[in-house]
Every structure is written in C-alpha cells, then in structure tokens.
Symmetry: C2
Subunit: 238 residues, 2 copies
C-alpha cells in the first residue's frame, strides 16, 4: 500500500514530522500537494462537503480507507504499523506523551514570530514578537530542552533514545525540532547546546541514520524558510 501525505507544499512545517517517520520506515508515500493537481485534491479533502471525517488542517494521511489528521495522531498510527514505537501499552503511551510535549513546544516556537495572529504579517506584530521571543528563549526553551535532556538521562536503556533501546518517532521528532530551533535561533541554540549535550547528540545521530541522511541530502527535503513554523529573524534571537 502506498500512503498519501497531504501538506502545504512550500514549507517543512508539521508535515515534515510525518515525512521523517515514513522515510525511516521505508514506507512508500506520495506527497500529494507537491505535484500536479495535488493542491486542489488537498483542498477538496479539507473543504469538500462530502468528506465524512474531515481534517481540521494539514497534515493528514490517507492510509487505505483511513484518513488521519493531527500530526501526533498520524505518528501514533505509523508508530504501531512500522515499529517506530514500543508495542506494549506503557511504551506506546510514553512515546505519544513525548510527542505531544514536542507539539506544545512547536506551537510556542511558531508563536514567537506570530504572537498576535497567524493571519497577520510578521511585520504587523514585530514588536510583540520580540517580547514573546525573549520570554521563550529565556524561560520556555531551557525548560523544554532540559526536560528532554532529563528524559534521555533517565532512560534505563541508555541515553541514545528517548524511549527504550530503539528509535521511535519521538526521536525523529526531537531531531526535527532541534533542527528547526537551530535554524530559527542559532545563537540561543549554540549556547543551549552546551547544557543539553544528550539532546544535541541525539539530533546528530538521527541525521546520520542511512535513510534519514539520504533523505536530508535529497530534493525531497524542504529547506526551512520564512513562511514556515521555524523562521530565522535575527532580531528575535539572543
């Protein structure tokens, strides 16, 4: 079976968390909205009047007859199908819990440049963005990074993975989150990296996995940019 991934074609965004899981699982998928008439197919699933279980927003994944929305929910599904999460209930819930915490961080990272409204330009909320970013870099970023550092440190199976002794989708998502933060806030992350070496080492190890490395070097990997969730505005960095 070939999966169909639906996501905005010009940004890595939330779609990238799903892509990384599909790539690592070597699961065949089409990135629908990035080719041909794909965008209109995506919009019909979002706005069409006959979709029985419509997604609220991209990304969503078609898997046979299933249409699954919400990034963490898609990963919950893929984790079970492709051994990207433990099979037992405790491990499955713990992996999902970490993913949901990364999802919270993602919203906060986005809101650093859009604290007032997602549908206004950055330029219309630049002053507020500076205040929000300062608080994010001062209080929230260290809290989140410290948390994941602690999770790695306390993993009884070793600090190479967030959960147990094998890679899970939470590791892939932590990689992508660190990559995005490195792009958006290079100065703050250079400093934070020194205090969160396990998190940074995990990022580097994921980037070196054969399938992920090949994918990152390919044209399929979309670059971070200033339309996405992680944006590099030097004035928002420390």
């Amino acid at each position: 079976m070939q999966y169909e991934l639906y996501y905005w074609p010009s940004i890595p965004g939330r779609g990238e968390f799903v892509r990384l899981a599909l790539v690592e699982a070597a699961a065949p998928f089409v990135d629908v909205a990035r080719a041909g008439e794909g965008m209109s197919r995506m919009m019909r699933l979002l706005d069409g009047e006959k979709v029985e279980r419509p997604p609220f927003a991209p990304p969503f994944l078609r898997a046979g007859t299933l249409l699954i929305g919400q990034t963490a929910n898609i990963l919950l599904f893929l984790g079970g199908r492709h051994r990207l999460a433990p099979a037992n209930e405790a491990g499955r819930l713990w992996t999902h819990q970490l993913q949901l915490t990364l999802a919270d961080l993602l919203v906060e990272a986005h809101d650093t440049h859009h604290p007032i409204a997602a549908n206004l330009y950055y330029e219309d909320q630049k002053r507020e963005a500076r205040r929000r970013s300062a608080g994010f870099l001062d209080a929230r970023l260290p809290k989140y990074l410290g948390y994941f550092e602690r999770v790695l440190e306390r993993n009884p199976q070793g600090d190479r993975h967030l959960v147990g002794a094998r890679l899970t989708y939470a590791d892939l998502s932590l990689f992508q989150t660190v990559a995005g933060l490195n792009y958006a806030f290079p100065r703050a992350m250079a400093r934070a990296g020194k205090r969160h070496k396990r998190v940074m080492a995990l990022h580097d190890r994921v980037a070196d996995r054969p399938r992920i490395a090949a994918y990152l070097a390919s044209e399929r990997r979309l670059a971070f940019n200033e339309q996405g969730i992680f944006r590099h505005y030097p004035e928002l960095d420390i």
Copy 2:
C-alpha cells in the same frame, strides 16, 4: 483500582477534561493535589530526580504502575479502558484527532489573555491581549466551532455525538470547551451559538447526563476563574 489525578488545585484547566471522563465512567479517583499534602506529592513527581518517566506538566494520571501525562494521551488511555471511545482503530483515531483539535483550540483560547508570556501578568500584556482576542473571535473561534458543527452534521449515526452513536471523551471535552468559552466570551458565544446549534445542543445534553449533572452541582466541580485557561475579561469580548 483507584486512579490518582494530579492537577493544580485552584483551576479547572486541563485537569477538568480528565475529571469529566472519570466521572462519566464512574471510575473512582483521588484528586491528589486538592487535599492534605497532595501538592508536595505532585511536585515530587514533576521535579523529583528519581521519576523515570517524568511528566512535563500537570495533569497526569497514575493508573496502577502507569504514570500518564498529556491530557489527550490520558483520555486516549481512559477511552480504551472505559468505553469512552470506539474499540476499532478507525474510530479510536478519529476520536483522538478531534481531541487534539480541541487541544489546539484550548491553547489559542488561553493565549487570548496571555499572548506574550504565560509567566507575565495579564496586566502586562493587556494591549496585546486585545489584539489577539479580536483575531481569535473574528477568525479562529468561528473556524473551530464551524468545524465541530460540520463534524456533528456529517456523522452518519446522527448529530447527537461527534463520533458514532455513543458518547466519547471528545463529546465531554467539547462540552467543557464550550462551557469555558461561554464563561470567557459570553457575548461572542451568544452570537456564535445561533450559527452552531448542534455544538450548543451537544453542550446542553452532556450537562444533563446524570453523572455529569450530579458532578457539576457538587463541590468537586471547580468554577472557572481568572487564574485559569478560560478567563472572563469583558474588555476582550466583542
């Protein structure tokens, strides 16, 4: 088995979504932080150095040997245990997808009064809160309410439930979300109610369920207040 729920004792917040599921399931639970030395027990699980799988923040639930964090994750677990979600994979994922969409709405509702930083006072971001609220009430609230209205309308088993023909935790959470929005934005919601009658009817039906009605009338139900996620600041309403 008795569950242990850990959440801040003075606000309904995210803990309330878990409480409603436990109440509807008639599952015995202790609200740990609301009695005796409970707060320090909660803080030890959050900050203690020996917790192998620490939660990032409340709420979290102890269920036997499991310690489960993240509201939507807790509900995923309880949904399976207490028939508050379909047993089949498609229905289980769909229910969780709706819950995660409600979680997104919850963050946006919170950020109407705290657009700059959660650790600053409302008074220090009042001007920004007005701008953010205006955008929320103008664009985001109708989008979310319209979405859930559509989900109810398209449910092939009828518009009394979000999923299938039985109550799920997503219905309970939609009830709580509407209750919070009614408290925070009574004028905007009075207007929105006219266009989203199925959502409002679901809210009323959930409130009338015997166990929920008894709970809402009891002292266990915490009132919305200006320390919580949903706050009533008249200047932020339409």
